[in-house]
């Protein structure tokens, strides 16, 4: 199993993310439970970051859309 994309830390490869407004924004459960704004940019990153065990296409699709 591949590790999260290139060791770069993004909300889109954090274990707490779920799709929200694909691929631009993700929903963060950890932030939601702490009453912080849970809707964050896929390519941003915050202090709650924890690497995801399984890879998805969020980062690559968000980067491609941003080009």
């Amino acid at each position: 199993m591949k590790k999260s994309a290139n060791n770069e830390k993004f909300c889109g490869n954090c274990t707490s993310h779920n799709a929200y407004n694909y691929p631009d924004q993700v929903f963060c459960t950890r932030r939601f439970l702490k009453n912080k704004n849970p809707i964050v940019q896929t390519l941003s990153c915050c202090e709650e970051y924890y690497p995801s065990a399984q890879e998805c296409h969020c980062i690559s699709d968000a980067k491609e859309k941003k080009k």
């Binding site: 799709a19 929200y20 009453n35 969020c58």
Partner: protein, 341 residues
Amino acid sequence: MRRNEVLREPVKHVKIGGALTVDQLVRQFKNSGSFGAGRLATACDIYERMLRDRKCTVFLALAGAVVPAGLRTLIADMLRENLLDVVVTTGANMVHDTIEALGGHHYKGHWNVDDYMLYKNHTYRIYDVFVPEEDFIKLDLKLVEMYDEIAAEYNGGSLSSKDFARELGKRLDDPHSILRAAYEAKAPIFIPAVRDSEFGYAYYLHAFRRHFKNALVVDAFKDVPEIIGICKKSSRNGMIVIGGGVPRNTIQSAALATKSGIDYAVVITMDRPEPGGLSGSTLEETVSWGKLKGQADKTMIIGDATMVFPIMAASAIERLGKDFKRTPRQKTEELKPGGSK
């Protein structure tokens, strides 16, 4: 029994001499009287008799992903037309109903796909139907909002799953929603295993954020006197089962508790009786428990409910005709609204 009593009625072969209505086709099935076609025709007859019986309460048990597979609008319409009185369902079916009510969709997919590819695309699979993950997330956010509101209104009091379904239906404005249709028609929906669905996960999100203080309380035991009360008021009980499981047994147990039993039963399932689970158990087995009357009007169809149920409904609606009006029975207003401390 003598030979001439056994060999009484020859099979009449299906004849399609041009365009047929649904009920005309079902009547052809009745002529053949054989296998699945014969049972489907019998089911249509039984459902018609349930609806024509002015003293019968019609229960629908829903288990299996029939809402994602396209039966949502049909069930909502049947509730509005008083062709169903009480629904007992899995939480999942009402979750998927709410997803669509909030603007989400289910997509035609395929059963033979790379599921890890779906995972990487944040897409869930229900056999050959796909659901985008964001529809669940948007559902969770909305449910947490609703739970906060309902918890504040009930102020520590508990709701039965019927109250919970009514509160959700009140807050949805999609006319094709089952929860909304039931709310408008004042038809009770019971969700006995409510926590076993996204409703349960949304509860965790809602309760965690308030440190589990003054959180929503849904009390599954409160359902018991409510559904038994419906059976008690009913002179006769009719049960249509899609799948089985907890929803089927919730209805059957209520009928047993009142010692009245079920008078009419149609079960549509793909499950088998050998493992002893309720979804595959025969109606004869149900008779042994006293949940179904020995002389009940009954049939069990081994078939896919996404095909069988719409045919059954269409056939019955066609037979009853446009002018048929059924008296609404067993409405939620008869049961005490609001919570109790």
